[in-house]
Symmetry: C2
Subunit: 972 residues, 2 copies
């Protein structure tokens, strides 16, 4: 018997890469090639083709699924999870198991992407509207977006808003020193790009006399726990024309006077402690709320209420015109993928506990902190800060380090502020026993004559009535109806059943790479030794994470041809921004402060120009030729014209047109010759892995979208992760962190980090195991096959569709890369049909549409990925071909251009079963246009949503109860 036959059988690549060897040959022949490799050889330009990609050790051949679980369990055992009292924006929390299993561990919630197609996304749209209502109710400001990346970057976005509100005329932003250190550092890095000056000062010494201050940021409660009355402070700022930004804590706001009632202009913070694990730094949903006045300047996605074609309430993304994919460099921010899955968990936590439940948790946390403070006073071994607090007690003592070490021996992590100061932050998981243990720690040997329980009656409240919240919150029935596990289980499943996901069918969104999110990759994400680690825990307690970072850094360097990786940027857009900031720091280090010109092709993703604008770069656009490739001459001219000030080129490869441009290496040379650096957008890495690499092509830095190429699920609109790889010369500038120093992996000899990009040292560390296990299970061969099959699948679909829809761009040998664009512009005149009509009709066939009208208006961009079977590709092509037939009925005059099966799409059951049917086409044709739909069909739940109405009548929070909910609430 062969040795191979005796190798473990639970190998992974055949479960991820769809096409079997026979299918590969069959599909390659269909495209006119002998086999898959000849197709690849004529698609990927020789000049940039890698002959092979090899990993070190066990990773090259790849681990089987069970070996991977064993390896991850071994890493998990190296994480020592101490009981954390560190706080600083990260708190232990009880993730309600019904939310853990039915959202965080449920592919029907985590495999969708951003709710572009509202009619098949009403479930998560309602949950995100719940999230926006939690934020507006608790902060006391009327408008909230649907989540940002973390508290630090949310504060930086608020700073940018202040700058924009004052039209860039005031160039100083004041930050009170009572903000979390990571927030201060992230704002400083970001300010650099806007040439804003950040002044960090004690809140008492805030001074607007320079007249150049656009905004001020304060923390409420402060990073060391104090709860200050900001009434006067805000009045004074407003008197000086200064906008007030407050970073706050959702749990505290169930007991404290909300920032809105102080008059704050913008409120930011993290929703982590509402049922989302700390996960060594993320992912968590951060929030930003503001007044009606500044709503159009808010960054990120915003969910709004509108109506569908039958006038029924329907939700959708509002005010998209201000977002990066439309306003590009004028966009308010480069936010694209945010933290939708985590916002949904935060919202469901509030739904499950309701207002009383949240308040009782807050009172308990506050009570434990109060009893601790009381006990410390009785012990007399340290001084307790004599200011109101919510959950964090500031203690000054002679030798703080000694106390810190005694605590560590009891596996307790305190926050060592300085040699005389410790803060102790209490949270939902703290118990009375924990408080007793803390008394022992602080008693430094003295016997403790009391217990936390015995002190309880002596403590009432450390919050003055002036700062005690009076206003009600979370009064809407949704927060008062689902407080048993059955009720929440059914609410979660009711919403789940409204959303199409990868559990139903392929989602071929161009440049989104919606590939398989395998279960083995997702399992470690909810293991306690990964979820319960505080990002600022001493590194030696997190050796499992650290070993994984080291391995992942090396693997990503091999894949990209780079020398060092930073895992800190926690979204694709954050990675782009970080990449440009590294280039900027590099030029600065060489005295080239003037190098601020950034060449960007017009076809680049909207986040590119938005990111460049955030780095204060002057954008020079270059066009594309008829074949959709970068116009090299135009680029050469632009480079030479700006050779003294050229900072960088932002390029996507293969191009956003789905074509391997032949001249990419030449383009890199041109930029280098003119003093610029090449930044490569990693969006299309799925067409490079194993075949070529950014480093090999000539790029200096690139960001990867781990939530595209490396399997982190899209989560309904996040989380994502955007680590950046750099060549040696840029490695020293990779970002560090004020609390836990970090930098490039592998570590460069010397470092001069550009500052901090994300609030946590390694971004959303909890979801890195997903990409790590994917790479480790695929091995170098499996990953290379994935790229080949992704290209094969795209070419097979292009071939099947070309006689029905013109394929807009092809490579020199007539092939496309891993995605391709079909041109629908012709149908506008011949049939009055727009890409949106085709996308809505695809819903009736059970499919999510491809990317619409980007990068070329009037087109659809299709990216199948390697994890869709030939049967599924054929089914999608059959649907598009059948729709083409429906279009030709309009062209031939057999169907009314204004009242046909496309314009009427999608067709929800309520419409199809209405007693009266006035459409000029049959119900069955609208409902079951393809054979597979008879055996099982995903039903869109609304008619087409009216975007214009939604933006005109902007409502971005839950409406006062409609009758059904009101009745239910009365009886609940």
């Amino acid at each position: 018997i062969s040795v191979d036959a005796l190798k473990p059988s639970d190998t992974f690549p055949r479960r991820h890469n769809s096409a079997t060897p026979d299918e590969q040959a069959q599909m390659a022949n269909y495209c006119g090639f002998d086999n898959l490799n000849t197709l690849i050889d004529s698609t990927v330009p020789k000049s940039i083709r890698l002959d092979s990609m090899k990993f070190s050790g066990i990773f090259d051949e790849g681990l089987t699924e069970s070996q991977m679980i064993e390896h991850m369990s071994d890493l998990a055992s190296k994480n020592k999870v101490f009981k954390s009292f560190i706080g600083m924006g990260y708190y232990n929390t009880h993730v309600p198991p019904v939310i853990l299993r039915n959202i965080m561990e449920n592919p029907a919630w985590y495999t969708q992407y951003t709710p572009y197609q509202a009619e098949i996304s009403q479930g998560r749209l309602e949950s995100l509207l719940n999230y926006q209502t939690v934020i507006t109710d608790l902060t006391g400001l009327p408008m909230s977006n649907a989540s940002l990346l973390d508290e630090g970057t949310a504060a930086a976005e608020a700073m940018a808003m202040c700058n924009n509100i004052l039209k860039g005329k005031k160039k100083t932003f004041v930050i009170a020193s009572n903000c979390h250190p990571q927030t201060i550092d992230v704002c400083k890095t970001r300010a650099d790009g806007f040439d804003l000056k950040v002044v960090t000062v004690d809140i008492k010494d805030v001074d607007y006399s320079s007249g150049d201050v656009c905004g001020v940021l304060v923390q409420y409660p402060g990073t060391e726990g104090e709860v200050l009355d900001y009434g006067e402070f805000v009045k004074n700022a407003h008197a000086n024309g200064v906008k007030v930004v407050m970073a706050t804590d959702l749990l505290a706001l169930t007991m404290l006077k909300p920032p809105g009632e102080f008059g704050a202009d913008i409120v930011v913070g993290s929703g982590q402690r509402f049922g989302v694990p700390m996960g060594y730094g993320g992912p968590h949903a951060a929030f930003l709320a503001t007044s009606q006045e500044y709503k159009r300047m808010m960054p990120g996605r915003i969910i709004g209420v509108s109506v569908d074609s039958s006038g029924k309430q329907a939700l959708r993304m509002a005010m998209q015109t201000r977002e990066q994919h439309i306003r590009r460099d004028k966009a308010t921010s480069n936010i694209c993928t945010a933290q939708a899955l985590l916002a949904n968990m935060t919202a469901m936590y509030a739904v499950y506990h309701g207002p009383e439940g949240l308040k009782s948790i807050a009172q308990r946390v506050h009570g434990l902190a109060g009893v601790f403070a009381l006990g410390l006073k009785k012990l007399g071994t340290a001084q307790v800060q004599d200011l109101p607090f919510f959950d964090t007690v500031k203690v000054t003592c002679s030798d703080a380090t000694a106390i810190f070490d005694v605590a560590a021996k009891k596996e307790i992590n305190l926050r060592l502020v300085d040699s005389n100061t410790i803060t102790v932050a209490f949270d939902e998981t703290t118990t009375l026993d924990d408080v007793d243990k803390l008394f022992e720690v602080f008693a430094s040997g003295k016997p403790v004559q009391f217990t936390a329980e015995s002190l309880a009656p002596e403590f009432n409240n450390a919050i003055p009535s002036s700062l005690t919240r009076e206003s009600p919150y979370l009064t809407h029935p949704i927060f008062n109806m689902y407080h048993t596990e059955h009720e929440l289980l059914r609410y979660i499943h009711k919403l789940q059943n409204k959303d199409l996901s990868l559990c139903h069918s392929m989602i071929p969104l161009g440049s989104c790479t919606m590939k398989l999110n395998a279960t083995t990759e997702m399992m470690p994400v909810t293991w306690p030794s990964f979820t319960n680690m505080h990002p600022f825990a001493p590194v030696e307690q997190a050796q499992g994470y650290q070993e994984m970072f080291t391995n992942l850094g090396e693997l990503l360097c091999t894949i990209t041809g780079f020398d060092s990786f930073s895992l800190q940027p926690n979204a694709g857009a954050a990675g782009e921004y970080a990449g440009l900031m590294v280039i900027r720091a590099y030029h600065m280090s060489r005295g080239d402060h003037h190098r601020n010109v950034c060449i960007i092709p017009v076809s680049a993703h909207g986040t590119n120009p938005a990111s460049a604008a955030m780095c204060g770069m002057k954008i020079v656009a270059v066009g594309t030729d008829a074949k959709g490739n970068i116009n090299i001459e135009e680029l050469r001219n632009a480079a030479e014209a700006n050779k003294d000030n050229l900072a960088a080129l932002m390029v996507t490869y293969p191009s956003t047109h789905g074509v391997y441009e032949e001249g990419i290496d030449e383009i890199c040379n041109i930029i280098h010759e003119n003093g610029g650096q090449v930044y490569m957008d990693g969006a299309n890495m799925n067409a490079q892995v194993g075949l070529t690499s950014p480093g090999f092509i000539g790029a200096d830095v690139c960001h990867l979208n781990l939530h595209k190429t490396f399997c982190i699920p899209h989560g309904g609109g996040g989380p994502g992760m955007g680590p950046i790889g750099v060549k040696q010369h840029l490695a020293p500038f990779l970002p560090s962190h004020p609390v836990i120093p970090t930098g490039g992996i592998p570590e460069p000899e010397q470092t001069s980090p550009l500052g901090t990009i994300s609030a946590a040292p390694w971004g959303s560390a909890l979801i890195l195991p997903i990409s790590y296990t994917y790479i480790a299970m695929m091995g170098s061969g499996g990953l290379t096959d994935a790229s080949k099959i992704a290209i094969l699948n795209a070419n097979y679909m292009a071939k099947r569709l070309e006689s029905h829809y013109p394929v807009l761009f092809r490579g020199v040998n007539g092939t496309v890369a891993h995605e391709f664009i079909i041109d629908l512009r012709g149908f506008k005149n011949t049939a009055g049909i727009e890409p949106e009509d085709v996308a809505k009709r695809l819903m009736d066939y059970g499919f999510h549409g491809p990317t619409m009208s980007w990068p070329v208006p009037g087109t659809l961009m299709i990216e199948p990925t390697e994890s869709e079977s030939k049967a599924e590709l054929d089914r999608f092509c059959d649907a598009l071909i059948s729709i083409r037939e429906e279009i030709s009925q309009i062209e031939k005059g057999n169907a009314d251009p204004n009242n046909n099966v496309l314009k009427g799409a999608p067709h929800p059951p309520s419409l199809l079963m209405a007693d009266t049917w006035k459409k000029p086409y049959s119900r069955e044709y609208a409902a079951f246009p393809a054979p597979w739909l008879r055996s099982s069909k995903f039903w869109p739940t609304t008619g087409r949503v009216d975007n214009v109405y939604g933006d005109r009548n902007l409502v971005c929070t839950l409406q006062p109860a409609n009758e059904e909910q009101a009745a239910a609430a009365v009886s609940a």
Copy 2:
């Protein structure tokens, strides 16, 4: 601040018990009582009311959800999982993660019950049909049922079939000694009841000359691994009119000539090694296949193909007329709840691997065993049995115990057959390294000059061509289309979306207690330290399980008022049988062999008489009075008439009519006075916990349905667990086990066990954590409240419905227990409406119907349980009241008795959207008869299924591909 306010906030009872304190008062008043307690006091008879129930230690107050997870992690850490080579019917297997997460950890697959309502169960019905096809294809016999409890009881059911086939005329059953020891013991226990004689003999010495042999059981491959050619053996048996039963192994049958091709009459075995964890004994799906000739004598559920009202293919349970709930004591077996969830996992494993995948796993396992045997021969330290084998190698050596101990030091478990014999069983998870480790173990100090890898080329095959399988299997497209994770994920979700579950709405099946299956209770079930434990591992390796058993035993004794518990019976019906066999053993021990009369009320559950028949008891039925209570005089007469031969009374309390009979304690006295023992059926324990108890009432033994009262999910038709509690005098007789001795918990002083009931010592041990965590988190107060609220919810619904549907039986004070019966018999004449019509119409309202026509024909029995909110109870009542209105339209002549919205129900989308609508009622009224359906609705996927057609045209395996699948298969 109060100490209570500082207690942990993630308490569980409020998440499980639905009614809030306000709602409890509100609903009690609605029923005419001041508060909940006065309602309970007037419902539960004073004479049997417990004043309180107290648990010991931490369990009384109950643990919070996070404390429970911590406690279970601590228990898990006490389980030492060695690498098992024990085999004997239990093998390590790689549970494909996509099946683990999307079925075993998915409430949309595990919260339904048996697919009684076919139109909202087509998903699991298709998967169970796939399971039946796997079994028929691999065994080579044409008919299979949808799963039995375990291999041991499946063999016993086959023995009973042989007895029935020979019409009870032949009273000897021969078992070859090459069967697994637990199978032999279970058959012996079972034979006792049928007064069959079991003769265990070496296969060479089998002798039918007595002419009294009805059947013979052999194992293929044998328990020590040998693969024998049964060709002649079967011919010889048939020549003597003896039926041949073969116990076999599914993985072996991908390489070995199938039993059907030897002419075997019945084939049994376990599907465990097809992707279901060993779980210290279960749950696993066992199988039984037979010929067309004996199909009507098969035990258990059988899925058949039929058509729906529109002629479309639809699946349903076939041949129900032979089952226990209809044929009662004449039933072929007492099987009710089986192992549906595990059968679905086994089927999906076969779908995911397909015929080639399964064969390559088998060849690998066989190859590793072959290389091991080869290596041992080279070592020369032991003799290898010189017979063909599949996965198990028999080794004889001078000191087997020494080798066993050396292996244990390397955390390897071998099977010690006797002091000179060891068998080593290889499985899907064995690796080449494992084989090398085994060489070291057997080398007893000698250096090993080779590696498993180096020997591979020297081994080919240990199976003679005469026994090598030639016939194809699993050729249907379903086994050849879903081999990537995306494809299987979508197939699982396609089926999932066809089945209504507790994720959609309450399922008020009377006497099924469909309460919450909380996530915290389910999480430990898939932790490796619980899943990967072999049932015959030395007990000291399973101290986590053992500590849990001890705690659970004590808790159940406190709840039931009994002195000792056996956790071995692995279903409700198995518990009933075990309870009666304990009574039988008790009488025997006192010389009362003649005591074989069993008094059973006519209203008892069908499994009662079926179980009594299995114990060879003579059943004496007693009637019920007008109020539905047991006719005490009739019972007294029956008891006195049979006082010399009275064995037992089987009684359910509260009665199956949903009423607390006042005279239950008197009934127990009557039985005891006449020498009988009282067996109490635990089906209605949800109305007893904390309020009364079987022990307190006077019962001697009772079985509990952990899958009803104690939260093990119903799994779509299993798994269940039926442990039995006994008073002191019956404790010695509790079943033990031939391989791992067991018995009552707490252990009685002396033991004389009645034999073995289930194949594994502690039944389906893996799902015991579910009931353990439920009890431990609820605490004594929470459990008592649960019973009170279950009774409150039932009375509230009865009160709301009574003016629309007559409530058949009420207690002395006009209240009902935890369930109640509504009488629909009147509608037959006034509107031609049957209970089935109401159940099908309820589907259009998004609900699963209550229990139909049992215990009283023409009625519906409703059991809400304590975990349904008032809002959900109101919604279900509103649906029934709306249907009552629809019935009155027929009564008033406004609707045609043969063509109305009830007779036409359920209405699937395909019908509602048909171009032509010929019904005399509107589409919208059929589709959306209630307001809540507009915001979200679960759609039945077929019209009403034709049961008669299905039984007449019996098809119980997958049909040759229909076009859609054939086309897909061609392209796959």
